[in-house]
Each structure stands twice: as structure tokens, then as C-alpha cells.
């Protein structure tokens, strides 16, 4: 260590230098962040929208376009701009603009943590026509079969969620059955070895469907305008 360095060490704290350094660097950092944010904003937005659209089109097979709705004061409204609160309904339409399904999110406890899924409801079939796991920490290779297992995903070609006579709840609860014993359209055929995770999906869908299906059926007209 030479003399110059030693001098620097014993130099008294200079508050002007400190303020200058902090302010200067803070300004520079802010500039850097904002620039990056502005530069990447559009791409990211597009990426995210694509991902969401991909998922929606997957759970509402045949859909070509979508519109997002929210519920405000008990009324279904088209979502203007961005919103982070409340449940969103994604209506999917075919080429001709006809409503073929509504996608919505549901979540519940899985084996390890919360599982978030997106599922599509077809008003014509009165059935769940698609399900996609958005987020799960289920055991890889075991619980995560709910995302990949083909026989399991077959359950969602048409999972019956038709309403009871008074229209305030499901006619038949979505129930979980052991692999290979599915007998009714409202039963969910489980995955061997991943019983808990597949059972969790059944519970999540049952909870969400019994809550949302009566509402969706009542307000289905509102979703029809694209």
C-alpha cells in the first residue's frame, strides 16, 4: 500500500462526496432501469399475452380469439386495460365469432403447495372441455403427471358439470375415482401413484365449478358479444 492510498484512508468523510456519489449513482441506476423497462415492456407484454392466449385456446379447443371479462358489482363487463384483482373470465370464440367456451382460473391445495389451473367450460356441452396446470410444485415425475399424463388429461375432454333443476348448483359433484374405474361423465379418473395430486385437481374443479357454473349459465348471454 503506498502513501496515496493511506491518505485516502485517513481522509475525513466528505459529505458532499457522499451525496454526490449516492445521487449520481442513484440517478444512473434509475435511468438504466427505466430504459430497460421501456425497451422490453412491449415484448414482455406480448410474450405474456401469447402465453395466456395459448393456454386459453388449449382449454377451449377450437377458439380463435378471446375477450376478457370481469365481474363488477355483480355485472359482467369487458375488461378495459389492466386489472390485477378479481376473477377473470376469458371467453373464446371461433372464426365466426360464436362463443364456444369460457376459460377461468381455479386454485387449491395440492400435495406440496397451491396448484393453479385454467379450465375451459363449454356452455353447449355443459362440460369442462379442457384443463391446463398454470402453476404447481407437485413432485416431479409423480404429482406433475397431472400436467402430462394422457389418460388423466382425457378426463377433460368432457367432464360433466351440468346444473341441477333449480340451477343453483351442479347436478353431480365432480368426484375422484381410482384409476380405471370411471363410470360416469362427472367422475375424474385418477392417476396411479399420483393419487393425491389428481384428487386435488378434482377438489379444485369441484369447488370452482359449483361456485361459477350457476353464475356462468345465468350470464351466458353477456359473454356472447365479442
Amino acid at each position: 500500500m503506498n502513501q496515496a492510498e493511506l491518505d485516502k484512508l485517513v481522509e475525513a468523510p466528505n459529505s458532499w462526496h457522499m451525496v454526490r456519489a449516492l445521487a449520481g449513482i442513484g440517478l444512473m441506476c434509475a435511468l438504466l432501469i427505466v430504459t430497460t423497462y421501456e425497451l422490453t415492456f412491449e415484448t414482455i407484454k406480448q410474450n405474456k399475452a401469447e402465453v395466456l392466449e395459448r393456454a386459453i385456446f388449449k382449454v377451449v379447443p377450437g377458439a380463435q380469439s378471446k375477450t376478457t371479462f370481469i365481474v363488477k358489482d355483480g355485472q359482467v363487463e369487458k375488461l378495459q386495460g389492466e386489472s390485477n384483482s378479481g376473477l377473470k373470465y376469458y371467453a373464446g370464440y371461433d372464426d365466426s365469432g360464436k362463443l364456444i367456451g369460457v376459460a377461468l382460473e381455479a386454485a387449491g391445495q395440492g400435495f406440496q403447495d397451491i396448484v393453479r389451473v385454467l379450465y375451459g367450460f363449454s356452455p353447449d356441452k355443459q362440460a369442462i372441455v379442457g384443463m391446463e396446470v398454470l402453476e404447481s410444485k407437485e413432485t416431479p415425475g409423480l404429482g406433475d403427471k397431472i400436467e402430462k399424463d394422457e389418460t388423466f388429461l382425457k378426463n377433460f375432454e368432457a367432464l360433466d358439470v351440468s346444473l341441477n333443476e333449480s340451477g343453483d348448483n351442479l347436478k353431480n359433484e365432480i368426484i375422484f375415482v381410482k384409476n380405471g374405474t370411471k363410470a360416469n361423465p362427472w367422475e375424474l379418473d385418477g392417476i396411479t401413484g399420483a393419487t393425491i395430486s389428481s384428487k386435488a385437481i378434482a377438489a379444485i374443479l369441484q369447488a370452482s365449478a359449483s361456485q361459477n357454473m350457476p353464475f356462468l349459465n345465468q350470464n351466458i348471454e353477456n359473454f356472447k358479444q365479442q
Binding site: 432501469i33 427505466v34 381455479a106 387449491g108 391445495q109 400435495f111 406440496q112 403447495d113 397451491i114 413432485t139
Partner: protein, 192 residues
């Protein structure tokens, strides 16, 4: 989904233990787990700082949403956590010298503890409200303390064990952590 408080607590504490499932706070976990007394004090300090910084993070998040500047999230969290720790250190020093003696040396270490920042980020991502955030912080802190104290107990035993020379040090601690992580897998599915 509106998660129940008991679920949040059990999940953060046991099922998805910050150290053993998320690997958050590994540095102090490896560094300060040699002695049970130290470990439990460190755990207490972390829990305390977690509670405080969780509250701060909740406030900052509200503010950032209000001014629509999500890109400042990380930078403001880290700055606030660092200054909170400083502030807490000063306050404790002034009002409870005994507590300061017990926790003092750990507080600066906590600033760079990723468990604290991780907690703030996770609670924001999960969209917890104020009470949920507090419970989450409490659970995470308790989980961290449990893991740290158990590890300290085991390491005190390993100090007087005939372990092969090549595994001594960090390697054996990681092996123990692996076994603990497997053990905590037994808690999966709890809390629902």
C-alpha cells in the same frame, strides 16, 4: 384462492420450509449452525427481521402499485430491508442492550440473507394481504429457526464423531441438509 392463515403458516414453516425446500438462507444455515445457542438466537433475529421487513415490503408494494412503477420493486425492497436492519439494530442497541448483545452480531449478516428478500418477493407474488403476509413471515421465520436449530444439534454431535476426513466441513452439512429435506417431505399435503 384465499388461503387460510393456518395453511399459510404450516406451508411456510414445514411443507415448503424456506431452507430445506426453497434453499433460502443457506448461507447462515451453513455458517451459523455450529452451536445450538447461537443458532436459536440467529433464528430469533431472522424471525424478527422477517416480520418487520414483511410489513415494510407490504407497504412498499402498495405504494409501487399506486405510482405504477413495478420496476422499482427489487431495488426498493433491498434498500428498505438493508435500512430496516440498520434501524432495528440501532433501536435494539438503544433500548435493549441485552438483546443487542444476543442478536447484535447477526443483524448485519441478515441483510444479505436471501430468506428475507425471498420472503418479501414471495409474499408479493402470492398477493397476500397484510395479515397473511405477517403470518407468512412468522411461518417462514419459525421454519428457518426450526431447521437451523435441528441442524445445530446434529452438527454438535458431528463435531464429536469419527467422520471421514473428506466429508468434514460443508460436505457433511449438506448431506445432513439433504436428509432433513427428505424428512420434511413427510409434511407434504399438510395444512389443507
Amino acid at each position: 384462492m384465499n388461503e387460510s392463515l393456518s395453511f399459510i403458516f404450516i406451508n411456510a414453516c414445514l411443507v415448503n420450509n424456506f431452507v430445506l425446500a426453497y434453499f433460502l438462507g443457506i448461507c447462515p444455515f451453513l455458517g451459523v449452525s455450529g452451536n445450538i445457542g447461537t443458532a436459536s438466537r440467529m433464528g430469533g433475529a431472522v424471525m424478527f427481521v422477517m416480520l418487520v421487513s414483511s410489513m415494510c415490503a407490504y407497504g412498499i408494494h402498495l405504494m409501487l402499485v399506486a405510482i405504477d412503477a413495478p420496476y422499482l420493486q427489487l431495488i426498493s425492497y433491498i434498500v428498505v430491508i438493508a435500512s430496516t436492519v440498520q434501524l432495528v439494530e440501532m433501536i435494539i442497541k438503544k433500548f435493549s442492550p441485552a438483546l443487542f448483545r444476543a442478536l447484535g452480531i447477526f443483524l448485519p449478516l441478515i441483510t444479505t440473507n436471501c430468506a428475507i428478500l425471498g420472503l418479501a418477493l414471495f409474499q408479493t407474488n402470492k398477493g397476500y394481504d397484510f395479515i397473511q403476509s405477517l403470518i407468512y413471515a412468522l411461518g417462514a421465520g419459525a421454519g428457518f429457526t426450526i431447521a437451523l436449530v435441528i441442524m445445530a444439534g446434529i452438527r454438535e454431535d458431528l463435531d464429536i464423531a469419527d467422520t471421514p476426513k473428506v466429508v468434514r466441513g460443508t460436505a457433511i452439512v449438506l448431506m445432513v441438509a439433504g436428509m432433513l429435506s427428505l424428512t420434511f417431505m413427510g409434511f407434504a399435503g399438510l395444512g389443507g
